[in-house]
Amino acid sequence: MRYALLVLGGPYSHQAAHSALRFAHAAIARGHRVDTVFFYHDGVYNASHFAAPPQDEPHLVDAWCDLQRTHGTTLQVCVAAALRRGLLDAREAERHGKSGVSLEPPFELTGLGQLLDIGQTHERLITFAP
């Protein structure tokens, strides 16, 4: 089965992101594919390059990047939701005159149309919300 996940919850504040990651690993372990994760609403904070949790806690941002590296899962972030929450890639940072870059590859900024597209191109789209 080709899965896509929609994550609407921020890391640490809610269980949603953690559950989504666990689901992704469980699905892959059973031979399924998790081709795309889309981050929307407060879920965009999962892409925050500056997240620095205590060392004895799971590092969710790194865990998403690992998922991409190991299994090729695409990590897409809604650009409108990200910009209003301070998550900018190099291009957007320059466009808005900001000196830092808070969102880096493998996370990619994309539009909401992509979310609708994902719903049609994957066999299942599962939402993880707080």
Partner: protein
């Protein structure tokens, strides 16, 4: 006579379950609905729980510095989003009737909810 039939109702159903103003749930859910409509999909909204407050008449942007949702709801028709389903129990529990709402809605009873959900190809729950 109920307006809810077994026939397909549309491509995309966006469920609104949060009250306006307290967060971005409503705004970002409506954004998705508008994008769907702009992409030529047939879009319906379903307001449930505290989501029914979103359609209450005479809501201004107010003192919270948010844009408010009334202007977006008034745009729905322009985007051909004309099916607004409202969970009848949620309305009644909050002492509201369809007359209190900004736009005409289709009331849905609890047994009819599953028919509405099954009638859409894709569902997003906010």
């Amino acid at each position: 006579m109920s307006e809810i039939t077994e026939a397909p109702h549309g491509d995309l159903l966006v469920m609104l379950r949060h009250a306006p103003h307290g967060g971005l749930w409503l705004r970002e859910a409506l954004d998705l609905a508008l994008v769907g409509a702009a992409f030529g999909q047939s879009v319906s909204l379903l307001l449930m729980g505290d989501g029914v407050w979103a359609l209450l008449r005479e809501q201004g942007p107010g003192p919270l510095g948010q844009k408010g949702s009334q202007s977006t709801f008034e745009m729905l028709e322009m985007y051909d989003i004309e099916r607004l389903y409202v969970d009848a129990d949620s309305l009644e529990t909050r002492g509201l009737t369809p007359d209190d709402l900004l736009l005409p809605v289709i009331e849905v009873s609890a047994p009819e909810l599953s028919t509405v959900l099954a009638g859409h190809r894709q569902i997003f729950n906010f």
